[in-house]
Subunit: 517 residues, 2 copies
């Protein structure tokens, strides 16, 4: 559907054939946590921080890039001081829109403006299995969760969810991308641990895309590079990964993740200032190397619980920070990646439902483009659970329905329908032609959330949402084996790369015996 | 705290001594689901409906009031047609702000603008007890839930939650108000079933307030009158209650509750048009009788699940409708009462957590003044549960923290704090003077939501939020016995009115034996 005539909305989903009640890429931005003047104040303060406090950058080609552009460097404290004119210049060259492509166009993400997409995030180290047991994560989890996500319409992209704790470091990069790309046609994002692996990943993406040119037009993978350690310090080994991604023209998120009260100021506004300073430094850096490079700002503010110092997500403060970042990105006109769907709960209970909904709705209504972490996570990002993906699909659906909003036009205002029903009709709208016409386009019916009467619910077994979601997850995991890579392509990939996901792991035969021991 | 310098926020909570991290009455309105031009389109369409389709009003003093004001009446179809000039006139006389007072000023509700208060709603017919059993609701439930609500800071008012199914009709009105007023100092709202009881209720309120003048200044009770049956028909017996409330100067909500697709158009915009037409007719009517009367528009849009026709709350569509109503009320400049916190779930699970959060956050960010139903409810308004009140208190806290927003000023921008930490400091903000200063004013610590590690959580018994909330509800119910009515006053009330809540029910002695049999 979409809301025709809305600012910039039209046109960006023209490839999609079947209208969705809660379309990916709907235009957010109706929630503005900050006044416009406050956004400007935060931006101006970030410029002061960049010029006066600067960024800590070790000796490196990166630092030379800043030096050559005219930045003052103090080598005794490894700090680079970035003047406002460089920020201004970067803002004039940076990409305002970035395409992250799906293998098939209905999964394309047109990041920019206030268009909203919600997807998975990474990276968990523990998995809560379908019997409620917790174990370490392994490579094949990225494949099986990918198959599950492939079935869930309100999860719009697939960011590699878990750490491959079963692999050596040098095998992770290739295998985590492979496991995801083999599972779904949705866009795949992950990090790269080793800079020298980036080239391999570009080759793999070319092979799957059908060549380098095809990938350049429709990049089916992208990177996230956590290239800062807050406050205001570059992680030099990740800068190398970033450099390689730029070199090989793979779209990249520069992600900084300050925790208010621990690695950024306790004042929420101060955390935004520092985060924006970090981001602007990266926007300057990338645009110095390749102006207009497909760059996404990665604002991942969180908070420390100041009673204990522990990382926490899911709170009102967290939601405010993430929504504010979306608003700031629209002011800057650069695509944004940020977070929602984090919960501190250990299980898919009422707390998880609440925290995911609050954080997700805030970021989406504010118009964040690429909302990662918004499916599957528990325990402050440490654990994922299959049933949580299924639950979050329903939550994201409701959120996206809200982002789509209310269409107002002569037809929807329904003045004649009301007149008809009240003066000629049966005094109700059930069965009215308008009702029948709209029942499947105006309303999203949740997949799992229960709307039956208590009697019917009791008769059908009194399942709470977690129990229902486990049943649904089992069905998808058992039955959905999408053929994403052709046999030839897969053979080719396995010849070129050291693929450690066993072929039989990608077959339904004997799945439950391997999976749920 | 509040956000100084924000439009209209300052001053309205000056009575409150202790600053709250998530203050009642914080200014919403940062989420605007509609464009300003769309609000105007909806308003204009509602005027067309009022003039052309009209309202069904039976022969009554009410209809004569409309006739005397110049409305065309068609007695053959009982319809009153209201011209735009009468709406315009009512809008020039109607109250833009309404005080609903607590027994103590910290509980005052200053309805109007986009100030947000969240509280309970009514009325359930079933109660899920602390052992998970469902039973019919009785009078004493209103008292015990009131004591529980009295302990919960993020529930700002007490609307009578349950139907007294143990009483005869003629005893309900007095007893439901009494049971609530005896339990908490928060503002109490309920309906009146019988018009002739309104006078008694005014007398009771006078007695508790300390006289008629005291009540006129600080009305500690108010009414909700569901005076329409959608679409566009007056419920004549409730109009009589409304007439009595106006006569006795008790603030009143005129509430209409269309269900999109069943009793209003399936098009969301059309439901808003019809609802606004119903509301404007009531605003005209009340202001014809007493211009400037403390009237609150009661927008309670819901929806039918069009697969079954069943009432449903908790969806994205529901959230949009309620948020849109808040925005419309700000355009009209009249205080609003509406809904959130509805869930179709039967138990306090992930679904309940999600649905309550989505609906609550949308209405609050949109700036709804009096958000009822936002604590305790399950099963599409049929059931209440003690532990759900405790859970919703945490959800509402996070929501209100978000409504309060982000303070942006030279101090909070933290430019010097960042400089200090990065150049002189330990490179983190834990222990910094600003962090210590802000840790209890910038951050709301949830009462129940769990932020411990998985190991600690397992060691402490692996409770999900529902289990934790049951423990908390038990503690409050067992130990919190506020003395709201003095012995003399209570004796007086029991002399004047047929009070059916036994005195021993208001004593802790033997409570658990009576309560959890």
């Amino acid at each position: 559907m979409g809301r025709p005539g809305r600012r910039g909305r039209e046109g960006h989903r023209q490839e999609e054939k079947k209208p969705s009640v809660a379309p990916a890429g709907s235009m957010g931005g109706r929630y503005k946590p900050l006044l416009d003047s406050e956004v400007k104040q935060i931006f101006d303060a970030a410029l002061v921080v960049l010029e006066r406090t600067g960024i800590e950058v070790g000796e490196s080609p990166c630092r030379e890039t800043f030096r050559n552009a005219g930045c003052r460097i103090d080598p005794s404290i490894n700090r680079v001081f970035i003047p406002p004119n460089l920020v201004e210049k970067a803002m004039s060259t940076m990409a305002n829109e970035v395409l992250l492509a799906g293998r098939t166009p209905e999964h394309d993400l047109h990041l920019g403006s206030a268009r909203v997409y919600m997807g998975t995030g990474g990276q968990a180290v523990k998995l809560l299995d379908l019997k409620g047991r917790v174990r370490e994560t392994i490579t094949s989890d990225n494949y099986h969760i990918g198959r599950l996500v492939d079935k869930l319409d309100n999860i719009h992209f697939y960011m590699r969810p878990v750490v491959c704790r079963d692999l050596e470091n040098e095998d992770i990069d290739v295998n985590q991308f492979y496991s995801c790309l083999a599972a779904t046609n949705k866009h795949v994002m992950a990090n790269s641990y080793l800079p020298e692996k980036v080239k391999d990943l570009r080759i793999m993406a070319n092979m799957i895309s059908g060549g380098a040119e095809a990938f350049n037009k429709r990049p089916i993978i992208s990177f996230t590079a956590c290239w800062t350690v807050s406050p205001l310090r570059y992680a030099m080994e990740t800068v190398e990964v970033l450099d390689e991604a730029i070199e090989h023209d793979i779209p990249v998120v520069i992600s900084s993740a300050p925790q208010a009260g621990a690695t950024s100021p306790a004042a929420l506004a101060g955390t935004l200032v520092q985060l924006l300073a970090e981001q602007l430094s990266g926007i300057v850096y990338v645009n110095l190397i390749k102006p207009g490079f497909p760059l996404i700002m990665g604002c991942v503010p969180a908070q420390a619980d100041l009673r204990t110092g522990a990382f926490t997500g899911g709170s009102g403060e967290f939601s405010l920070l993430n929504a504010a970042c979306a608003q700031i990105s629209q002011y800057l006109r650069i695509p944004i990646y940020n977070s929602s769907g984090i919960s501190d709960s250990k299980v898919p209970d009422a707390q998880a439902g609440a925290e995911k909904s609050l954080t997700g709705l805030a970021a989406a209504l504010a118009g964040s483009n690429y909302i990662h972490h918004s499916a599957g996570f528990l325990e402050s990002l440490l654990t994922v659970a299959y049933e949580q993906y299924v639950i979050d699909n329903d939550i994201n659906g409701a959120v996206m329905r809200m982002v789509r909003g209310i269409e107002v036009n002569d037809k929807t205002l329904s003045v004649n329908v009301i007149h008809d029903v009240c003066t000629n009709g049966p005094n109700h709208f059930l069965g009215h032609a308008q009702t029948l016409e709209l029942m499947n386009t105006e309303y999203l019916y949740p997949q799992l959330m229960d709307r039956t009467t208590r009697d019917d619910w009791e008769a059908s077994g009194k399942s709470d949402l977690r129990e229902t979601a486990i049943v649904q997850a089992k069905e998808y995991l058992g039955n959905h084996w999408p053929k994403i890579l052709s046999d030839d392509l897969d053979k080719d990939l396995r010849k070129h790369f050291k693929i450690l996901l066993p072929e039989n792991e990608m077959q339904p035969e004997g799945f439950w015996d391997r999976f749920l021991v």
